[in-house]
Amino acid sequence: MTRMQRGGTVLFLLLFLSLAVLSLVLDRANRLEPVKDLVAQITTPVQEALTTATNRLTEVRQLFIDMETCRAQNEELQTLLDQLIIENVRLREAEIENVTLREQLNFKQANPSFELLSAQVIGRDPSNLANYLVIDRGAEEGVGIGMPVLTDRGLVGRVTEIASHASKVLLITDPSSSVNALVQDTRATGVVQGKLGQELVMRYVQQTEEIKPGDLVLTSGLGGNFPTRLIIGQVTEVHKTDVELFQEAVVRPSADFGRAEMVMVLTSFQPIDFEAE
């Protein structure tokens, strides 16, 4: 580029810069309003059309973005829902456990002389022929053979086998189980034995004794296998015939064996083993 050309270009630049400055000055003096109005009249429809077209384009684009956002949100919410379901289950379990433990605590407070060890039911007899529970406490925790097992509602059974951290509990509903019992009101004594079908029967009750449905049946403590005054259940039926030597009563157990999840082992009670002595 020659010096002359460069000079010409600078002049050209100065000319246009001057024009721009002139426009600025005239605009500041409001002398260009008619021109601006005219330009606005021409450009406004075009701008409107462009804006409308762009709006539609933006809406379509937004629709796709929204769909993608919805999908992402849906996935997030599904994950959250799964977490909440799990948390809800955990909380409900904790609530149930809390209720059970509170009932056990109440029972403990009502029986301050009892030393009770809480245990969780970790298994049940699979054969359906014998009524056993397996609990998660054993010899290491101070559980011994023959110790009574109860819930806050009443007697459940007694420990028959122990491992270091587990024990087997023979339920009072098992046909091989016998518990010396008495009727609370009349003090009539008998033996409560298990019967198929989660029921109990109280045998060897003297014909002269008065028993009626609704009577409470407690452990008598005779024989030294169980402590006294543990609730066994409630009399539902009485079978009394003149030809029989004894009368019998059907007893509904107070403890719910089917649903028991937490039980207590009465560790302060040592059963008397007459055979050993």
Binding site: T9, F12, L13, F16, L24, V25, V39, Q47, L50, T51
Partner: protein, 157 residues
């Protein structure tokens, strides 16, 4: 130039990336100045700036002044040895954007507008300059074609 101004005012602001907006007119003027030299660049800059002025709320002549000056400065890029580098237009667009906005802000300050320099530079000018430099290769390629089509045919002697 009017079409570019209309697109910039009506369409491009919807496709902004954060606070960065594509300075399409600036890119066109810079690219054309690089291809055709100072005189054509100055004319394009003035007309493009004036078009923007009519569509913007700024005082008439503000953009024209800034774009005319920027076009001249961009045309100086023709004189460097780096002008054949494929990255040169992008680098030039980056620098031109910043210079253009600085001129604009100076003019606005002179005519009495309140101009928050640091915020505008950091939040608007620099991001827009970066965006512009990224898009510049496309704009420049398009204008090269236009440049080749509109070149006066060589006369046979």
């Amino acid at each position: 130039m009017a079409a570019v101004a209309l697109v910039q005012s009506s369409v491009l602001f919807r496709f902004s990336v954060g606070s960065a907006r594509l300075p399409l007119m600036l890119l066109v003027v810079v690219s054309w100045s690089l291809l055709r030299g100072a005189r054509e660049g100055i004319v394009w800059g003035f007309l493009g700036g004036l078009s923007l002025d009519f569509l913007s709320g700024l005082p008439l002549g503000t953009c024209a002044l800034a774009l005319t000056a920027t076009a001249y400065l961009s045309s100086l890029g023709q004189l460097t040895i780096y002008r054949t580098s494929p990255l040169f237009p992008s680098g030039l667009a980056l620098g031109a954007s910043i210079v253009h906005d600085c001129i604009l802000m100076v003019v606005l300050s002179l005519v009495g507008h309140t101009v928050p320099w640091p915020q505008l530079l950091l939040r608007v000018t620099v991001p827009s300059a970066v965006l512009g430099s990224l898009v510049m290769p496309l704009v420049h390629r398009g204008l090269i074609r236009l440049h080749q089509k509109t070149l006066p045919e060589e006369m046979e002697l």
